[in-house]
Amino acid sequence: MATTVARRMERAWAEPRTWRTWLTTVDHKRIGVRYLVTAFTFFVLGGLEALIIRAQLALPDGRLVGPEAFNQLFSMHGITMIFLFITPMLSGFGNFLIPLMVGARDMAFPRLNAFGYWVFLASGVFMYGGLLFGVAPNNGWFNYAPLSGRAFTPGLNIEFYVLGLIFLGISTTAGAINFIVTILKLRAPGMTIARMPLFCWALLAASFSIVLALPPLTAGNIMLLVERRFGFHFFSGPGGDPVLWQHLFWIFGHPDVYIIFLPAVGIVSSVIPVFSRRPMVAYTWVALATVATAVIGFGVWVHHMFAVGLPQISMGLFAAASMIITIPSGVQVFAWIATVLGGRPRLRTPLLFCLAFVVVFVIGGVTGVMFASIPFDQQVTDSYFVVAHLHYVLFGGAVFPVFAGLYHWVPKITGRLLNESWGRWSFWLIFVGFNVTFFPMHIAGLLGMPRRVWTWPEGLGWDPYNLLATVGAFVLAAGILVTAVNIVVSRRRGEAAGDDPWGGDTLEWAVGSPPPEYDFAVIPDVRDRHPNWDREARLRDAERAVGRTPVPAEGHRTVATTVLDAEPSEILEMPHESGWPLLVTAALALIFVGFLTEAELAVAAVGTILFLVGVGGWHLRTDAPETAR
């Protein structure tokens, strides 16, 4: 399609490939790939931590690492997987795919997007800095008070947790706002909310959850920071109450489960119909189930605190929500099964990972609804049963879909297909390894093995389950390695993917692989829920790319539409590459690092000045006086 419009777009959108644009790029595809690569790197680091943990616990009286190192390892494992791997990984998919799926040429705020990535990277490096100095967070990923207070943890460990998460929260929030505005305002004309791809629904729901759920965590962390640094009292001391931290953490923590789970489910709802070669069954029900899960997710946090001793009626209100929240998940499970059964499925690797996801997630859901029963919860809380459950829902519910997504979309990103038989090997290793690792933990937990013990004695009947889990962990790691190698090798040697190797129904398959810088030569015209199966409309797009067209056919622009009905509303001038996001990130990093020192206020002052300069410079170009244009 080397048409005049495409050539003009090429001139307006291409970023020169120099080290300079490497630092200043605002292209959502480059940023998306960075998110994916960085998050996958953290996945490997978190996985290595898990392997050390499993090696330690394989046999009774393991002494591979000492208790202090073990505390840091399991804390960093949780923090890494939850905050630095899975959420940014799904943001990576979102960054790359959302503008393509909605038919736009970039995210709504491209520079904010770049800023979000840099802050994610800086905060991840910041938290791992603690590990290098042997003072990484050591109080678990939920960091309960009063153990997190200065009296019990005098070192900098908790500062790395608190500051790292506040810092990372800036990135997550910026990304969520960007997703929401992109999904609500940048959809191609005709893509009403009733025609949005389900992946967009999932990301929209998760992003709203981030906007509303992250502040309680940030508030708790700010309180903990000033309590530790300046002697305030919130969680201990006169008038303080440690239960306040638990409430604040879990008001964030449970919605966060859905912040992780929903985009993953969005991947599944994108992959299953394509590989079943039919439209998704019960679109409206699935879209609504996504939103309902996110909403109910805000009303179940107390089920993490059933063993605290809260009054019964309060717990009952949350138990009711915790039971009903299984219904929307159940609706989705049935919709996926019906789609596969009602279609003509091709059992390729992406579909395999999706089917495994359904199986594993149902098991995790069954143990999950058991916790909604308060007496059962009080019996197994803080045991390995919980560890088993959370890995079934988080590894099963999020990592399996991520792998499905990799096999589905990496060909779009690199333009090369992944090797199918390596994919199958990887799948079976991961599926078997996963179950061998985590299923025995249910039993160990019911036998009374508490979580977070650094070692355990002989003669408690836990031996076979721990040994099995360790063996499984190494099998699992091998499976992940196979996929990593597959991606690297196929990037050079894989078969060419073409625009649409799978016959996908969403708009990312209507453009090249890898997509051109400008994404779409003409902004597509959407008439139903499966725009890429609407051949007639796509052919018309191709014709419009040659002739005169009502959509912006020149310049660095994209189209904004109305929120509900996606009627064209304005033409947006999109910003070019910018170095300011990086500078602002550096200023923030300075402030956060400063809080590790004794001269925190002086460093913070310098950082703030730099921050203000950065933000000013960022907006100066947009807000340049008219005469300068």
Binding site: V226, F234, S569
Partner: protein, 198 residues
């Protein structure tokens, strides 16, 4: 945030721009942050001690905070005049409105500093949870007022350079929204930390 150019053929005035929508979402997340702090306040208040404020601390004097409330809330009026003015193309109303709201906002901060010096004679953030909550929440809000003042200053500088006119005023609208938000939060803080504790 991408500046918006008026364009053919389908520009709709009634729709929020992407920038405004981003600002509204930012305000939403900030509102959740303040809500978390205020819920924490009530949580500790009801859970922790029988006496509130705790022994040795007098109930807050309402005179000065009431004056501060009136000043801060009234600063929204000139801000609105500035915003509505530039939408009708009046650069004069923009500049006067911004200046007036800036002066009122600064007065609020000066009075807050004065109030702090009074409060610190009775209790510090380190005294107990009451002091910690009081200084954290009001201080956090004060920092937001300072941020809003800096945004206001930015718009004033840009307005001085003749940047805004009847067709280009998205930034003014966004800054005005943030300004009104910071004022509205103060109503919640004044009701919780002063009126409900007096």
């Amino acid at each position: 945030m991408g500046s918006v150019e008026r364009a053919e053929p389908f520009y709709r005035e009634s729709q929020p721009t992407t920038g405004t929508m981003g600002m509204l979402l930012f305000i939403l997340t900030e509102a959740a942050l303040f809500a978390s702090l205020i819920v924490s306040y009530f949580f500790l208040r009801f859970r922790a001690t029988a006496l509130w404020p705790p022994e040795g601390i007098e109930a807050p004097d309402l005179l000065l905070p009431s004056v501060m409330t009136v000043i801060l809330l009234s600063s929204s009026i000139p801000m609105h005049i500035a915003d509505a003015g530039i939408r009708r193309g009046s650069r004069g109303r923009l500049r006067v409105g911004l200046l007036c709201s800036f002066v009122l906002g600064t007065t609020f901060l000066v009075l807050q500093a004065f109030e702090y010096s009074e409060s610190l004679r009775q209790f510090t953030p380190q005294t107990n949870a009451y002091g910690s909550l009081f200084f954290l929440i009001t201080g956090f809000h004060g920092a937001h007022v300072l941020g809003a003042l800096l945004l206001n200053l930015w718009v004033q500088i840009q307005a001085g350079r003749g940047f805004y006119h009847g067709e280009r005023h998205a930034t003014v609208r966004n800054v005005a929204l943030y300004w009104h938000f910071v004022d509205a939060v103060w109503i919640a803080i004044f009701s919780s930390l002063y009126l409900a504790a007096a």
